[in-house]
Subunit: 228 residues, 2 copies
């Protein structure tokens, strides 16, 4: 337990950070498993291996987050458990049926998650922040995805509209599951409204935050060549 007094302003704050790490950890673990499953949709062995490689990156992120939870004397399994239902519901409602849907889901889903956690990490202790930002670092793997999707659309322009719809649906499902989690777990509210003497972000900032996340989502769809 040792250093928690120095790291956290108080127990409400610590719980919130553990919830944040737990969501992120299960998000990475399930992203790994889902991506590995989606690799079966790959048209070539090289593409299958490339998506597998992206999946493996998510697994190593999971390992970092799990180790941080252990370092905070939290049980990783207990920390992840409250978020399994919402994250699995997201994946079940957005199971890709084609290789391109799988790629767009990876790119858009990983992007939304990255933006969300980057925003929220502003409210946690510096060590957790460094870890979260490190776990989310994009080592340029996404280039493969952008190239594949843009080439497919060039060859068949009608795909752009269909995949743009898919991209919007991904965002809708992500928001609906995030709302569900926010309603169930008041721990996250601590990071936003404040606790233990630490000020939160405030409601105006939350509205701005979602505005920024939506804006970046739109940019990402454009970078894939999807009309919005």
């Amino acid at each position: 337990m040792g250093e928690q007094g120095e790291v956290f302003a108080g127990p409400a704050y610590r719980d919130a950070v553990i919830d944040l790490l737990g969501t992120l950890a299960y998000g990475e673990l399930s992203a790994f498993l889902r991506l590995a499953g989606d690799a079966e949709l790959a048209p070539t062995l090289s593409a299958k291996a490339a998506l597998s490689g992206l999946a493996v990156v998510e697994f190593h992120h999971y390992e970092l987050l799990r180790d941080r939870l252990v370092g905070l004397d939290a049980d990783p399994e207990a920390a992840m458990a409250p978020f399994v239902t919402a994250i699995e519901a997201f994946h079940e409602r957005t199971a890709p049926t084609t290789w391109l849907e799988g790629l767009v889901k990876y790119y858009v889903g990983d992007g939304i998650a990255t933006d969300f956690y980057r925003e929220v990490s502003a409210f946690v202790d510096p060590e957790t922040r460094d870890l979260v930002l490190g776990a989310l670092a994009d080592a340029g793997q996404a280039e493969f995805v952008v190239h594949e999707v843009r080439s497919a659309i060039e060859a068949e322009p009608a795909l752009a509209g269909r995949l743009a719809l898919w991209g919007r649906r991904l965002m809708g499902e992500a928001l609906s599951q995030a709302q569900r989690v926010a309603a169930d777990r008041d721990t996250f509210a601590v990071l936003l409204v404040g606790a233990d003497g630490v000020p939160g972000a405030g409601l105006t900032e939350i509205v701005h935050m979602f505005g920024r996340i939506t804006e970046r989502h739109t940019k990402r769809l454009k970078s894939l060549g999807l009309s919005t």
Copy 2:
């Protein structure tokens, strides 16, 4: 191309080594994907993460082998392609329906593959041999599997007979797919009967080799607590 003359006795020999690396590479890639799929059968989040970790080890082996193929100026996709049907057939005929079947498949299948490639690696160039042995090195991950299977059998002794049957079926399917590959690809025969002035293992040695592999398989089943 540069150093091939020094590394390989001749083109027949080089083809055989590329076939060996291609089988092993696709074997590792498909093991990764199948294990990630089997992780869905895990009874707990920790078990799911543990099997995912074993899968990721296989993916890193795949990366080593792919890099060696590229280093030999071979196209990894072309090198793997001839072995996809047999390896997928093995997996389809041995798709686990329970968590324990999945664990036994990992342990036994990985064991058979390791023994087979270790035997065959005696006939290749030293650099390829080091790589193959490195890719097959067991970093002690299997302990988790042995512990899980033995605990399950202690709690429910009737499982031992059923899982022992499953273990024998895995060996049978592995042999039948190996025979299929051997019949289709005469390149492997080069490693065994010799070519380019390099002596092969000879038929007697092949018989001994399969004897050793079967013996180790039986030992592995015993170490899992499975009656044979």
